[in-house]
């Protein structure tokens, strides 16, 4: 049963990663693995399916490098954990130059729609600037804000809000439109 779940998750991640449509909202993981890889930790040996992943694959980026950084309330300043994750993202992008990234900024629901759009834009830009500082060409990245439109966790408590105040790096092969 456990193996089956892992396999399903892996297939789910592959299916998402295969999609290159820019209009996407997820973070590339299934959402059930919030405390494992992908949540601000660097390499996590316990991550789902890690043994099977090709280090140059998008799944590896999403799950092992971590495609997501979190922010404090109203803030777009990167945390130490966030910078560590982004250093890993930069290294991966350096090693895999054919990939480009759309960086999504998100906010929790505690704020007006308009303000949260602007806040999400700040967050995605903070990630982009950090990656640029790590040597990634700006032309490989584009920022996007979803404001509070696409929460990862749906509850209305800080436990969920903390997960929703995030920036997610969505990688895909090919050029930016």
């Amino acid at each position: 049963m456990k193996t089956l779940t892992k396999a399903t998750l892996l297939i789910g991640a592959l299916a998402l990663a295969a999609c290159t449509n820019a209009d996407r909202f997820g973070d590339g993981t299934d959402g059930t693995n919030l405390n494992g890889a992908g949540a601000n930790t660097g390499v996590d040996p316990n991550a789902v399916g890690v043994g099977a992943l090709d280090p140059s694959s998008p799944e590896y980026f999403n799950q092992t490098v971590g495609n997501k950084v979190l922010f404090a309330v109203d803030q777009s300043t990167l945390t130490a954990e966030g910078r560590q994750t982004l250093a890993g993202q930069a290294a991966w992008l350096q090693a895999n130059p054919s990939y480009i990234a759309v960086i999504e900024g998100h906010a929790d629901e505690q704020g007006t729609r308009e303000y949260n759009l602007a806040l999400g834009a700040r967050r995605s830009n903070a990630v982009r600037e950090y990656l640029v500082s790590q040597g990634i060409a700006g032309s490989r990245m584009r920022t996007l804000t979803y404001g509070k439109e696409r929460p990862l966790a749906a509850c209305s408590t800080e436990a969920c809000y903390a997960q929703n105040r995030r920036a997610v790096t969505i990688i895909s092969a090919g050029g930016l439109s």
Binding site: D23, R113, Y115, L117, A154
Partner: protein, 453 residues
């Protein structure tokens, strides 16, 4: 639909006369409660007791008009009572009944049941589906007609609009204020789970009837805003994958993207009173500032240049100023600046965070969203930031829009939790008469049209 017998000149005279009389008598908050004096409802914060009116079912003047007469009568009454300012007297209390539209009114019978206003009407439907509605409004205690009889002509399909027009005239004559029943709402209809909400633009009558959808839900759409004459809607869509502003013609449902620089994001648009200039937020390099765009010439002008977030702009009705939201002080607050840009002055000065300011159509107030101590409020303040009043409180209220007469505010209220969903609510600017607006699905981001013509 046309107004067959415009009596504007005379009505204006009547109203002016009433206003002068009212001042001379130092009118009480509820003028209509005084049994001497003319029928006149002075709307202010003092109104507690709704004005009682009688509306005998309109006469069917053609054999096939019975159902139409019932529906129109009921909707006129519903419009009036829905304001919280009027109360309908049930027909079981009636002493005399109106046997014909032209029959003399037995005022003592209506006084006896304390009807202060009496509305009589007649409906005819011809073979082509044309509907004619005639009506009269009486001041029962003075025994006079208030204004003159009017008739509206429309179609059977458009019967709700005819009823709203009748109610608008009654409302206007009794209150002396502009009406709002014959108006529409553009909004975002929402379906699906909270983390994958499907959104599409909808348009409906002010009371939630006659919903139609203007877009599909293939891309996120946000915050539609009516043009000053109600012919177009500005909104933000993710159809390119990135937030971008579109202008949609309601009649043709044709839309086009506003011209913005490549690699930017744009949102929070609103028309200037001239219907040609759009003010909006443009984000470049993570920084959000306010710009205007002339839709016809394509000329873009930058209004703010700060590292702070500037968003949610709204013009004053004369077009001379823009009120907006900025976090330049460290938290979101409300500011006002000249419409061409320049030095901004902070208006909000209470505790908490302020956003989405919207100038009232009368120019006297600014409605806003306030967030304080974990609660959200819709409030109003004077245009200098004074006399802040909070009208609502809930887990999440936001995005006020004004009725055409500046009397009612509609907004989004979202419930909390994993199954939380948004709905539209309206509230009188006195803070009374809070109610949910009927919608087919969950709904958010209402924008109230001007009065239809």
């Amino acid at each position: 639909m046309r107004n067959v017998t415009p009596k504007k000149g005379r009505l204006a005279m009547v109203r002016q006369f009433l206003a002068i009389l009212c001042v001379a008598m130092l009118c009480a908050p509820v003028m209509a409660q005084a049994q001497q004096g003319p029928l006149r409802l002075e709307i202010n914060d003092g109104i507690i007791e709704p004005l009682p009116f009688a509306l005998p079912t309109f006469q069917a003047e053609t054999p096939n008009a019975g159902e139409m007469a019932n529906q129109i009568s009921a909707l006129v009454a519903q419009d009036l009572t829905g304001t919280g300012l009027f109360r309908q007297i049930g027909s079981d209390a009636f002493i005399s009944n109106v046997s014909a539209f032209s029959a003399p009114v037995q005022f003592p019978d209506w006084r006896a049941i304390n009807a202060q206003a009496l509305i009589t009407g007649a409906v005819s439907v011809d073979g082509s589906g044309q509907v004619v509605v005639k009506f009269r409004l009486y001041d029962v205690f003075s025994g006079n007609e208030l204004g003159q009889g009017l008739q509206f002509v429309g179609t059977t399909q458009g019967w709700r609009r005819i009823a709203h027009k009748v109610a608008d005239v009654v409302y206007e004559r009794i209150t002396g204020e502009g009406p709002y029943f014959d108006s529409r709402i553009v909004f975002v209809g929402e379906t699906g789970p909270k983390n994958d909400r499907r959104k599409r633009l909808g348009i409906m009558d002010y009371d939630g009837a006659n919903t139609q959808y203007l877009t599909d839900s293939s891309a996120i759409v946000l915050a539609p805003r009516f043009s000053p004459n109600g012919d177009r809607v500005l909104y933000t869509s993710y159809e390119t994958g990135f937030p971008r502003i579109y202008v949609l013609n309601i009649g043709s449902v044709n839309r086009r993207a506003l011209d913005v620089p490549d690699g930017t994001m744009s949102f929070a648009p609103r028309f200037a009173p001239n219907g040609q200039t759009v003010v909006f937020s443009l984000t470049t390099g993570g920084n959000t500032d306010l710009y205007t765009l002339d839709i016809n010439s394509g000329q873009r002008t930058r209004l703010t240049s700060t590292p702070a977030i500037e968003t949610a702009p709204s013009y004053s009705p004369d077009g001379s100023q823009i009120v907006f939201e900025s976090d330049r002080s460290g938290s979101p607050q409300i500011y006002v600046m000249p419409a061409g840009g320049g030095e901004a002055r902070r208006l909000s000065n209470g505790a908490g965070r302020y956003g989405t300011p919207v100038w009232s159509p009368k120019g006297d107030l600014i409605a806003f969203t306030k967030q304080n101590n974990g609660r959200f409020h819709i409030g109003v303040m004077r245009t200098d930031g004074s006399e802040e009043r909070l009208l609502t409180a809930s887990f999440l209220d936001e995005g006020p829009t004004w009725s055409p007469n500046g009397r009612v505010i509609m907004f989004t209220r979202e419930t909390q939790g994993e199954n939380g969903a948004p709905a539209l609510y309206s509230v009188d600017i006195s803070g009374r008469n809070l109610k949910k607006v009927r919608t087919d699905t969950a709904a958010s981001d209402p924008s109230w049209s001007p009065l239809q013509r």
